[in-house]
């Protein structure tokens, strides 16, 4: 009897102490939660509020709900050809740039991981593009692809106005982005490579696995978590791309992106409600994409780890 009740008593005691500790903890984090709410929630809330309102230069002030109904900024924006085109462009850009960055970044990471003389130097050199500001990157590539004075036309002997023609402008933008952020991808993947224990490879070698088999069956599966993190980072970044098209093309020739269109509408054209609605739509799209990543690709990882 006694022997049974004593442990029960201590366990309830421990639980209640757990609870009060937890409550204390929640009190202690509340200031920072409040701060986050102020810093993060207020701007988002204000954007939501703006997106439901109307502002015109004739009726100065922002007091009117959007007309004819409060969602009309959203319906207008979603029916707007320019913004639809911007959504398509953003996804095209994201798909190709992140895809190429993944392949090239993986290659770079494998090269950096291999032990050889000059490894330190290689790592430093590879990371240089990542350190360059995006705006500077854009100006640099704009100069390289300049139709009259640039090196590309001179080298290829072509006469293409790279930033002034439809598929080419997007291609230049993707090249500039891949050049700049593949090293970032490589860095994240390299970190993943370094935690794979060498014994696994040795065991595989003993079992007679070829190099390709070792890569397919050991490196890739164990690298998946790192790759996923890198992919999420880069995809979310690419979906919000602003500075490259802003400097390279100002959105002409099908390089307009969601962020750029939102900025143009909001600041340059003074249509605050629709600009805010575009920003919120961008925000929601980015959120949905990140959920999809975690839901599907994240599930795969767990499956692979179980195998």
């Amino acid at each position: 009897m006694e022997a049974a009740s004593v442990p029960a008593g201590t366990s309830t005691k421990r639980r209640s102490r757990d609870l009060s500790e937890r409550r204390l903890a929640s009190y202690m984090v509340s200031p920072s939660v409040l701060l986050i709410a102020l810093v993060a929630a207020y701007p988002i809330g204000y954007a939501v509020w703006l997106s439901l309102h109307q502002y015109s230069v004739r009726q100065a002030g922002l007091s009117r709900w959007a007309e004819p109904n409060i969602w009309s900024n959203y319906t207008n924006v979603l029916q707007d050809d320019e913004f639809r085109q911007a959504i398509v462009n953003t996804f095209v850009f994201t798909f190709f740039s992140v895809g190429l960055e993944l392949v090239i970044g993986l290659g770079m990471a494998l090269a950096m991981h291999a032990a050889f003389r000059g490894q330190g130097l290689l790592r430093t050199v590879v990371l240089v593009p990542w350190a360059v500001l995006t705006v500077v990157t854009a100006i640099m590539w704009r100069t390289i692809f300049d139709p009259t004075l640039g090196i590309v036309n001179a080298a290829l002997g072509t006469d293409i106005v790279w930033l002034g023609e439809t598929p080419y402008a997007m291609i230049v933008m993707i090249i500039a982005d891949v050049w700049k952020t593949a090293p970032f991808m490589a860095l994240l993947i390299l970190a993943g490579l370094q935690v794979i224990p060498g014994e696994i490879y040795e065991a595989a070698k003993v079992d007679g696995a070829t190099m390709w088999q070792r890569f397919r069956k050991i490196t890739l599966p164990l690298l998946m978590p790192a790759i996923l993190v890198a992919l999420i980072f880069r995809t979310l970044d690419a979906l919000r791309i602003f500075d490259l098209p802003f400097v390279l093309t100002k959105g002409q020739n099908n390089t307009n992106t969601m962020s750029l269109e939102s900025y143009q509408t909001f600041t340059a054209n003074n249509i605050l409600g629709e600009g805010a609605a575009m920003a919120i739509i961008t925000f929601v799209i980015v959120m949905i994409v990140s959920f999809l990543y975690i839901r599907f690709v994240g599930g795969n990882i767990r499956g692979l780890a179980d195998e």
Binding site: W49, S56, R58, Q59, S63, P147, Q252, I271
Partner: protein, 433 residues
Amino acid sequence: MSKRLLFLLCAALACAVFVAACGGDDDSGGTAGTSETGSTEGAKTIDVKAMDSAKGEATYCSGKDTSGDLKETIEEFNKANPGSTIKLTEFPEDAQQQHDQFSQRQRAKSPDCDGFEEDVVWTAEFAQQKWLYDMTPYIESRKDEFIPSTLESVTYDGKNWGVPKVTDAGLLYYRTDQVDAVPDTWQGVYEEAAKGDGIVYQGSAYEGLTVDYLELAFAAGGSVISDDGKSSTINSPENVKALQFMVDGIKDGAAPKAVTTMQEEPARRAWEAGKATFMRNWPYCYALSQQAPKVKGKFAVAPFPSFEGGEKAAILGGHNMVVSVYSKNPGLMLKFIDFATSAERMKRNAVKYSKAPVLKETYQDADVQKALPFAEELQQAVEQAKSRPVSPVYPQISEAIFKNVNEALSGQASPEDALKKADDQINAALQTF
């Protein structure tokens, strides 16, 4: 993990919506009373006499004073007027940033900027929102001194909303070693250009292309909006003709394909590399090109020729000085503006800082003519210059023009289709106010 993340996101969103609801209440209480009358009725008018007894402090806001003339003017004003102090607040160099900085302050009814140096295209937008003092009585007293086209840029709804300070108009640069004289028409210029190394201009999709296109369209007899400012007139035969002319120019090799990506500086670089026979650009290139080895001493400037079957036209650039209605010391600001736009100051700005004057008499001054060798051509260009469409939604009108014209130039749309699309966009923008 992902559940907790989801919960946190939902909580944040709930918070956001809550904040949004509160924000809504506050603001609708605060600004519900703003007037909804159509025009600029009820705007405050400047009291010219207040200038005489003005004292105290006032702040003038302007884009970065890169040449230093503004700082010098303020220093001299403060020295000449003991008891009153003008302070300078500098905004970024980028015109859009200056526009946004000033707009934000005015929306908040802030007295930060007693005066502001606006771009000529913002007059209607600011006046319509009742952010500016009506300066008509002051302008009336000096009307004859100014070049008439510069006054147009401060006029909206029949009233004057500012005082012109510096003007600008495009010029045609040409290589004297390749052409003897500038042809009388744009058509002639393009013919010569096709025979030589071509003409470069600003064809990238931005404000500069709106200007370059309108220079030709206005010369061809076109317009952008109706006289009452309520509907678009961009889709006219004259405008199509002007656009077709530019498109053909690229097709026939009078202008390189690359002009569709050029702004002022790339055009100047191509010109200074000796790769063009003609260049359309602003006066600032004159001094710079005189230092470029390949074109130095081999070029001259001219005001624009006329369009075949049309007339001569140019587009006015430059800056005006305006007074904010939220100023606590409008009298002192006006006194400063009077000082900064005086004939004496205007001459100094031209001679020392190469700024194009807005006063007629300054162009006749011998020192000015010596400092600006192309003063005569510049005055002609400014006199024949027209304002860009005066409308509170000018930024949207301009975007409709430069985006669609650029698409036509790069061959993505026919001139007819491009202007039809611009027409729809401009009409949609005009309906919003």
